[in-house]
Amino acid sequence: MLMIFLLGALKWLGLIMVFVMPVASLLTWAERRQSAMMQDRLGPNRANIGSVRIWGILHFVADAVKMLFKEDFVPAKAHKTLFRLAPVLAFAPVLIAFAIIPFGPTIHVDHLFKVLDPYSAPSGGERLQIFTAEFGMLFYFAIASIANYGTTLAGWASYNKWALLGGLRASSQMMAYEVTMGLAVLGMFLVTGTLEPGAMVDWQGPNPLHWGITVQPLAFLLFFTAAIAETKRAPFDIPEGEPEVIGYFLEYSGLGFGTFFLAEFVEIVFVGALMTTVFFGGYHIPGLYQNGFYFGDWFFELPHVVVAVLQVHAFIFKVIFFCWFQLLIRWTLPRFRPDQLIHLGWKKILPMSLANVMITAAVLLWLGL
């Protein structure tokens, strides 16, 4: 029991410390740099340690140092406990939610350098997924709702009218889009017959024609839209909307603000991981089966360890692709108006996701699956 717990903790730490946090930190730099490229300017390229400059990639270190040394201000009339708790509530759930993401195949330690049998995997092995549960996606929705408290409480506890407006906007937006998210995944659930992300990835397999994007294209679009709305970034950044209500984190400074800031980027990574898992075949590479590459009649045999390493890298590549894509959207589209956003959520995207579920169910019934 202890071993299982330790192993889980180790995998979680490994995923968070080796992949999520570095990628999220680098995204703070990448966002500025990518937006600069889109806007014909240079962007941050000077942060350095001595002569080590590498395109200013160390900008996030400078950022972190700045936030650490800034005064951590608490407004006099703020609700002190909730004010302190809010950033944690916004940040922690996303990190927890990473537990359901399968970021690599099942590792069979005894068969590392052998070629696996293409039709049956050896029993046992360690799955590169921290929390495997039949209710995986539901777990994510439950956890994501907690993150909602973080933003709303931040707005309420700050004792600031603008922050309150931002917090209210955040909660109304979350409510409108979480339903859509659930219904969009329901389409995938009907097709794959499971809510467990790992099983979804297994179902999709290495054939792109079998991936979520192909079998549920509408659900992909709807889910992606709702997921971007969940990250509260443009065009869905009404809780922040700096020229309007300035944002629910208006009164935060120093690390309190830094936590919200980083939470946003961790959410980007998470949305990328979720899209990869549910709709883009997870860690699978087109044509790469557990014993090697198949392209038509052509076959190239690979040992288990090479396949595993390739697949983990495929997962990382896909996640980074989705991160890039989200940054691209953020710097292209303007912001919605709150009522238009809610209108879009309840009156357009929600009926579409309902229709998607109905049509999927009807087609499945017709095919007799």
Partner: protein, 413 residues
């Protein structure tokens, strides 16, 4: 037959439902500004909000009053030019031109300005107009969250400022125009440089427009927001692109031509609905017309002097100052006393970027104006903002205020 009652679901308004629930509500009063990201130029709005809907708004000006009008009474006519730079600080050239024309009309020499100087004034003025519209549209797009067109537009504006810097020596506060002409001739290769930049700017305009003009989100934010009828607009004293967006075809350059505008071919774009989207389009098309004016002006500009050779108004050349007693005296009198303007008063208007920029000057025969009043276009436009936003959403305030193009320098003179 008993009484027949019809129940319609989903037909109740939010107010009716709230009244049934008996929820206690009270409006929230918030201070938007003077320190608020959207209140560029420091203005304060006291808003009474019902949810996010604006029930009442009160707009307060005067946070950065500059005393331009009072200062002008203590400066010679030439010394006022640097002050006019800071009126609409995004397009200082147009203010320069407007003030110079007012003084020249008072002196009665406005028909004697050398042709080359008039063309130069048109060229630098239209460049400033493009720069102003680029800033206004870019900043408004940025406030709606579209950051990319903003920076593209600012890139184009920087090209113009660089050229204006070559002309006048200063990037922003040019002080380039003088009573009786302009202070220096254009640089030798200016025409080629500007001609090349005009092509670049036209490209940037197309790119920026392509990104947001037909974008659903952008149109939803702009269309039908901040509507004002043509009659109201005239009653409030609107002018410029904002007035034309309501459908009134009035442009000082066309209706009361000054400089050489009557020799140049250009159209005046006019809106139909008077909403923010129309104001956006009018400004967008106006920039294209300005490019057209610039191309023609560059073709037509004749060689020749750039100042009237009247040494009671303009400084004599240095050679004469050092070598002749008349030149020396003229120089001394102009520097010490300023230009002696005969007693009288004048109201002179030009088409600045925001609308009709008027200077009302009363002269008493000395070298300094007795009274100098500025009719600032954005002041008149701002007065109607309350009418435009009352009952709208808080988010609608942002594009409406952005399209007013409130410039504190000219409003709070």
């Amino acid at each position: 037959m008993g009484e027949r009652r019809t129940f319609v679901f989903g037909q109740k308004t939010a107010e009716e439902l709230e009244a049934e629930a008996g929820l206690p509500t009270e409006p929230m009063r918030v201070n938007m500004g003077p320190s608020h990201p959207a209140m560029h130029g420091t203005v304060r709005m006291v808003l009474t909000l019902d949810g996010e809907r604006i029930r009442e708004s009160d707009i307060e000006l005067g946070f950065i009053h500059r005393c331009f009008e009072k200062e002008a009474e203590y400066a010679t006519y030439t010394q006022i030019f640097p002050y006019t730079d800071r009126l609409n600080y995004v397009s200082p050239m147009l203010n320069n031109v407007g003030f110079a024309l007012a003084v020249e009309r008072l002196l009665g020499i406005d028909k004697e300005i050398p042709e080359r100087a008039q063309y130069i004034r048109v060229i630098v003025g239209e460049m400033a107009r493009i720069a102003d519209h680029l800033t206004c549209l870019g900043a408004s797009a940025m406030e709606l969250g579209a950051f990319t067109p903003f920076l593209w537009f600012l890139k184009a504006r920087e090209w113009l400022y660089t050229l204006l810097e070559e002309v006048s020596g200063a990037r922003l506060t040019h002080s380039y125009v003088r009573v009786g002409g302009v202070v220096a001739d254009l640089p030798t290769d200016f025409s080629e440089k500007l001609g090349a930049r005009l092509i670049d700017i036209a490209r940037v305009l197309n790119e920026g427009e392509g990104l947001i003009k037909d974008l659903r989100i952008f149109r939803d934010r702009m269309e039908g927001v901040g509507v004002l009828s043509a009659a109201d607009a005239i009653a409030y004293g609107w002018s410029g692109p904002c007035l034309r967006s309501t459908g009134v075809d009035y442009d000082v350059r066309k209706d009361h031509p000054y400089l050489v505008y009557d020799r140049l071919e250009f159209d005046v774009p006019v809106g139909t609905r008077g909403d923010n989207y129309d104001r956006f389009l009018v400004r967008m098309y106006e920039m294209r017309q300005s490019l057209r004016i610039l191309r023609q002006a560059l073709d037509q500009i004749p060689p020749g002097p750039i100042l009237v050779p009247d040494y009671a108004v303009t400084l004599p050349p240095k050679a004469e100052v050092y070598n002749s007693i008349e030149g020396m005296i003229a120089h001394f009198k102009l520097i010490m006393d300023g230009i002696r303007v005969p007693p009288g008063e004048v109201y002179s208007t030009t088409e600045a970027a925001n609308g009709e920029l008027g200077f009302y000057i009363v002269a008493d025969g000395t070298g300094r104006p007795y009274k100098c009043h500025v009719r600032a276009p954005s002041f008149a436009i701002l007065t109607s903002l309350t009418k435009q936003i009352d009952g709208a959403l808080l988010s609608d305030l942002i594009p409406t205020f952005g399209m007013v193009n409130y410039i504190a320098g000219e409003t709070e003179r």
